[in-house]
Symmetry: C2
Subunit: 380 residues, 2 copies
């Protein structure tokens, strides 16, 4: 009997209640019985994004909302600043290039967070930057970037935007959209929302909505103007992924009304902290030791151990699916998720599996030190 357990930083496990909510009979998205479901989602998203501004819902992956954050806010030839310290920072630069936006990139060593002073310097050097694209939690490296500090710098002027990929940050830790003056914050359903992939979300400040009105990059499916207007009537511009919205309503109920948002942040941080300490107790090195995101822990594959073999043993023999590294970190790290529907016993199990896999591959360490460390840290 091999039980399968999903520990990737998205998709994450989906609670049974959410999965069954998605199995309800289909209804029409323009009919009156859909409106209260949509309204619950709309208000719940504002709560989880900590904003009074509209939060748009797209039927797409998170990348779709990232696309819209360029194509709907800027014009060809506009100048943008991109913080690039992982695969998702790179994506901002690729999207800018696709739409003819000139991107000046701050390249940050993978596994480290950007120094906000570099953002200040770049903005001072380039007077014409209209938008700063950053990643809150860089899922490819496990790094948490200092969004609050960057936002303060961007906010020194009123004529530029801060746009945040918070795909593995919203619902993971505190990232208050309004209080920090963030203009655009993007997330996706298969992360802290404990949902399948297929929905993307975007909080949008009044300033960003003004930028949209003068933006001239080409776009059609992703159209913030159409979506804002539709949202006023509790609709989306195009046919929404109705069954996923059934699930979202239920997931938001669990997160916001039953568990609580602050408790969700606290739980995720505790799981992340315990995992980091347990990996250290095994003699493993973290990929992002100084600025870890609580969404996931990225662990260096130790010398002498083959990364793919480690993940294969975890998956095929122990039932645990953890993520490989991406891009430059492929094969060199493995990544364990904490965001979403995980509790301390899930996490202790995953640590035990890592220990067993390492032991069977001949890595030298004191078996049980990881789970002992985690059990102590997660006791109460």
């Amino acid at each position: 009997m091999l039980k399968r357990r999903l520990f990737t930083p998205g998709p994450v496990p989906v609670p049974e209640r959410v999965r069954l909510a998605m199995a309800r009979e289909m209804i029409h998205h323009r009919a009156a019985d859909f409106l209260p479901i949509f309204q619950h989602c709309k208000v719940g998203l504002q709560r989880i994004f900590q904003t009074a501004e509209p939060v748009l819902i797209f039927s797409s992956s998170g990348t779709g909302a990232m696309d819209a954050s360029v194509s709907n806010l800027l014009s060809p030839g506009d100048h943008a600043l991109v913080v690039r310290g992982g695969k998702f920072g790179e994506r901002w630069a690729e999207i800018c290039e696709a739409y003819g936006v000139r991107a000046t990139c701050i390249d940050v060593e993978w596994g480290t967070a950007v120094d906000p002073a570099r953002v200040r310097d770049a903005l001072a050097e380039h007077d014409d930057i209209k938008a700063v694209y950053v990643t809150a939690s860089e899922t490819s490296t496990g790094v948490r970037h200092p969004i609050r500090e960057i936002a303060e710098i961007v906010r020194e002027r009123d004529d530029r935007l801060i746009v945040v990929d918070a795909i593995t940050a919203v619902g993971v830790y505190e990232l208050p959209v309004d209080a920090w003056g963030l203009d655009v914050v993007v997330s996706g359903s298969q992360k802290a929302f404990m949902m399948p992939p297929g929905l993307a979300f975007m909080a949008l400040s009044e300033r960003a909505r003004r930028f949209h009105q003068s933006a001239r990059c080409a776009h059609y499916y992703f159209d913030l103007g159409k979506e804002i207007k539709a949202l006023d009537g509790d609709q989306t511009a195009w046919t929404p992924a109705v069954s996923l919205l059934f699930g979202l309503e239920e997931a938001l109920r669990i997160i916001l009304d039953e568990v609580g948002l602050e408790e969700t942040w606290r739980r995720t941080e505790r799981l992340a902290h315990a995992t980091r300490e347990s990996m250290r107790a095994l003699g493993l090195e973290l990929y992002a030791p100084d600025d870890p995101s609580p969404a996931l822990t990225a662990v260096r594959v130790p010398d002498g151990i083959d990364g793919p073999a480690l993940r294969k043993r975890l998956k095929d023999e122990l039932g645990y699916t953890v993520a490989d590294g991406q891009g430059a970190a492929k094969g060199k790290i493995f990544r364990i998720a904490h965001l979403g529907y995980f509790d301390r016993f899930d996490t202790i199990g995953a640590i035990a599996a890592v220990e067993m896999a390492l032991a069977s591959l001949g890595f030298s360490f004191k078996l049980g030190e990881g789970v002992r460390t985690a059990t102590e840290l997660l006791r109460d």
Copy 2:
């Protein structure tokens, strides 16, 4: 006890087996256990599109695939021909405009099909047209356009594309992509596929793939090149809507392996025919009497009856959700679906409900003539 029944031409009812398939536990879309599911979907889509060419899967509504059919195939300033005889024909023109493609439109009276000679004349007049955008089944009017004849005209030259919105045609009636030489054919999950909304599909000829390579309209999320490459490895470029793919695999199994594609076309056509005849038996007029699509039947609200009141009575008192008209036909017609998970008893019930609603609103006719007609036509 008021049972609710969905009779809109998308979303349509989803079979319980498909809904429960979507409720299975989440797995990772890059892991080996997802590959066979994706492969089944990929091959099944080729069968239902009747093509040996790749059929791409997007996480979006059908409009997303329509967007990609312009933004990924043409360049700003290119010249396109659009057949515009309803809301979805209008959408092709809007998308062209959004991407700076010059669209020459053939305006067709709503409720009628385009005369292929007009396409021939327009192509003769405009030597530089690179793509012809048409709608197979115009859901807003209930019209079926002569795609085969149009394709023959377009195919007289090899340097231009025929792009077909077949959102309510694929799986509804025969529309063989390869045999008719169609370059791009688009559909969506919430139609004949008996699925919730959230997935769009696109079959793509070798010629269309060549066009993509030189197309310069801006795009990122929708990227045919990235998707074709990913499809080769049984993947999508971005994280797919995994739970919807669980459902798609099951829905394709029902349509292709259990019911059969030809039987599905035959059933849909019979339901449509019986509905049209039963409406005539009630003294009602069809909106598309000469060129009806079997996907749905659009019926004119008779003089003296209020369209919204009729639909409200059907919904609130009888439990039947039918569609209003769209655009110019709003309030003037109602639309009953046949595509997807409907059988003859579902259809007879819907006809009975229409009769009861009309009678209660004071319309003068012989009650029961509709269901009698349908029962005769659907007897064996």
